[in-house]
């Protein structure tokens, strides 16, 4: 099967095959991406860049979660993770994982919970 350069059917698996150049999952740092990981652009797009990469850089000028990015771009998590891995490796975006309730070796983070609580109480 040869993947068309411009798929006539922009949905479906062929599209993802083209977008990811056939890669099925991110390697390295992006393999730990969480749906709530915030992505922030660290560089402008350059001419000739893949359209989806450009889109990601444009949408992440302000921090945006992987889940929001996937919803806006209409891309499944696994496909988006491949694209984000490219940008992470090139240093064009920064990824910030969600803060867990228990910081590594630091025990329960009461200050964080207090911050969340006061935010919710203001709703």
């Amino acid at each position: 099967m040869s993947a068309p350069r411009r798929p006539t059917d922009p949905s479906g698996l062929e599209r993802y095959y083209v977008l990811t150049k056939g890669r099925s999952g991110p390697g390295g740092s992006a393999s730990s991406l969480d749906v709530a990981t915030l992505i922030v652009s660290r560089a402008a797009s350059v001419p000739g860049m893949q359209h989806e990469h450009e889109e990601i850089l444009r949408r992440c000028r302000d921090p945006l979660s992987v889940a929001e990015l996937g919803a806006h771009l209409g891309l499944p998590f696994n496909i988006l993770a491949v694209l984000l891995a490219d940008l992470l490796e090139a240093g064009r975006v920064e990824a910030r994982d969600p803060i867990p309730a228990h910081g590594a070796g630091r025990g329960p983070d009461l200050a964080l919970l207090e911050e969340v609580l006061s935010g919710l109480e203001r709703l």
């Binding site: 698996l13 993802y16 709530a36």
Partner: protein
């Protein structure tokens, strides 16, 4: 998957260093998870999807195999701005627990979870409660009151669901923003209590 290896030193960046926390909304099919996400979110709730083939759940074979049936599993989510530099993301988990693996350890790093229960169909949330216990995700139980729900004393339901005394069980209306907010407040207070106990017992 090693989350620690992904930490960026000096993550507090020029944009104010906005960070995120996440809370999961779990529960059986049709217990009101999406409704709760919708009622309490600051943004129009969104859906992120994952596609997998029927024939194989192995992600290595996900792409480039066009002759297999695709299944789309979706995850509804919303966002609450806690303050200028902290976002709370709420994820309504897919009813089919067997798909939770699709999102890189969906519960990993979550502050905790709300398990929604429809009192007319208690059994539909058994699996979600078991999963929270297995994954060691701290949770509270929220009984979502549907118009034709009968009055159920909370303690009776606690017994039926076999929920220990220290885990809060509250009644809510998932359609109501204030009521859903109160459930989240109950969860965070519960997490604080757990932390306080953990600190004392050191």
């Amino acid at each position: 998957m090693d989350l620690k290896g992904f930490d960026h030193p000096g993550g507090q960046a020029a944009d104010g260093g906005t960070r995120s926390v996440k809370v999961m909304i779990a529960g059986g099919f049709g217990t009101g998870k999406t409704t709760m996400v919708r009622s309490v979110s600051d943004i129009k709730p969104l859906t992120t999807e994952e596609t997998l083939t029927q024939a194989s759940a192995d992600v290595d074979h996900l792409i480039g195999v066009a002759d297999k049936t695709e299944t789309t599993v979706s995850l509804d989510f919303g966002k609450i701005s806690i303050n200028d530099s902290l976002m709370l993301y709420l994820f309504g988990t897919p009813g089919q627990e067997r798909f939770w693996f699709l999102w890189n350890g969906l519960f990993k790093g979550a502050l905790g979870a709300v398990v929604l229960v429809d009192t007319r169909r208690l059994a539909s949330s058994f699996r979600a409660i078991e999963e929270m216990e297995r994954l060691e995700v701290p949770f509270v139980i929220a009984l979502n009151v549907f118009p034709d729900s009968k009055e159920h004393p909370i303690e009776e339901i606690r017994d039926a669901l076999d929920i220990p005394e220290h885990i809060p069980v509250v009644v809510c209306d998932a359609r109501d923003r204030a009521s859903s907010r109160d459930v989240l407040v109950t969860l965070i207070r519960h997490l604080k209590d757990r932390s306080a106990v953990a600190l004392e017992s050191r």
